[in-house]
Subunit: 296 residues, 2 copies
Amino acid sequence: MSDFQTWVHAHQQRFEEVLRELLPPADIAPQRLHAAMRYSVLDGGKRVRPLLAFAAGELAGAALARVNYAAAAVEMIHAYSLVHDDMPCMDNDVLRRGKPTCHVEYDEATALLVGDALQSLAFQMLSETALADDSARQLQMVKLLATASGSRGMAGGQAFDLASVGKQLSISELEFMHIHKTGALIRAAILLGAYCGKDMTEAQFGKLDHYGKCVGLAFQVVDDVLDAEADTATLGKTAGKDADNDKPTYVTLLGAAAAKKMAAELHAEALQALDEFGDKAQRLRELADFIVMRKY
Amino acid sequence: MSDFQTWVHAHQQRFEEVLRELLPPADIAPQRLHAAMRYSVLDGGKRVRPLLAFAAGELAGAALARVNYAAAAVEMIHAYSLVHDDMPCMDNDVLRRGKPTCHVEYDEATALLVGDALQSLAFQMLSETALADDSARQLQMVKLLATASGSRGMAGGQAFDLASVGKQLSISELEFMHIHKTGALIRAAILLGAYCGKDMTEAQFGKLDHYGKCVGLAFQVVDDVLDAEADTATLGKTAGKDADNDKPTYVTLLGAAAAKKMAAELHAEALQALDEFGDKAQRLRELADFIVMRKY
């Protein structure tokens, strides 16, 4: 295993324990809701957003105990969005991370509440312990996550996505959708990790944010390629779904070859944004590689 | 009109403008989502929680400009919970505040996203401008709202409610449910209003919180009585729904007369908690009267 793979596995395993601690125990009332929240967050996913937060935290010299909370907040938001997206009124999907989706394993009403309660929990994570060197900075973290999650961020991207089914989108419209739907939260993960550490200049935060914008978009382009080319067993979720749902993707708009080229260009741009940080940004570079070259 | 009625109407009208300003404009993308958010929040409701925040803010000598944001945050959470509660997988209701519910006027997927985005917006409201004399206090406000909204607060109360359909509950179980489902957010409204002002002692915050607990529970008991006795036109929402849905209520458990007596006792206890505040708590006293004596 490479040094990077070791780092990823160690953080993934450690963070799983962090999430187990931070989620409400399933034996505390309301038990069924808490069990369903744990079901929806634990044992799943690559934890890309938390890994980005940890890497940005390392770059900024942040204490791991702080970044844990920031990463957990982002992952709660991400998990809630998956639970709600999978519901029958949205994507109506039955498989997620190789398991039945929340509304299939439990029921629709519970899935609705799981998402709602996970969003609240995310903001609790950002406010219940000191995560930044001063409280004003921590309030900025709350604002950042709220904005990234809301109607001008992730939820807004979902709304664009809904409105785009069966429509012909331009590349710039598709990009606009993804910058909101997945990009906003990925950028938030990186900045939240960095905010836990020593103050950087606004220009440095700007570079990190640009890195985040590029890897966020690359992540989505690669997702579209994988959805078109990989199979359900490898993905752990239903493959070929975008085409079935008549959703515009980078592959349907550009073709697979041009989509792969676009991912490679975004990858290069992401690395360039990290130039001034030197060796401290090594994990962020490796994560950009990982996001673009992943097979699932 | 009494002085109190004038105060209520003035704040309701003024706050409607505040909400119009704070909600994203319907001509900014994603337009349909923003229109549906505005539809779900504006022109509706008695604004009981904001009024409680304004009254507590007056007691604490808080600047109105601050309390506006705190009250808006609470109202966004309340509005999101109504939109999600009304959805087919929950209460499946078609009428709210005299208008078609959000998923009827728009569609289910939009209603889901409206609720999600309103919750994010609530936390944005609490973090984007200075609301308390120091940022650490304001972070406490974020934590308070997150806790009141989540699985140990409002969303948890909803889960209890779901689990209680068709079951025989004891009075203490019913109380437990309502303390979470509606009580937590009402208490949060009062404390958030007070936190915007001058620091009070922990004992004083405790008194305010006890007032909030009593009026919150009284509010629910009165709701149950009204649901059993009023008609749909007066309520602006479907009457008699609890009995139809086989939901336990204070009326079904205690009978109407005992439920009314309970509301009166809670009212008296709420007033008692305000004793030490003198004249400054007059609006909170009047709001307790209003909550217990309302006809809709």
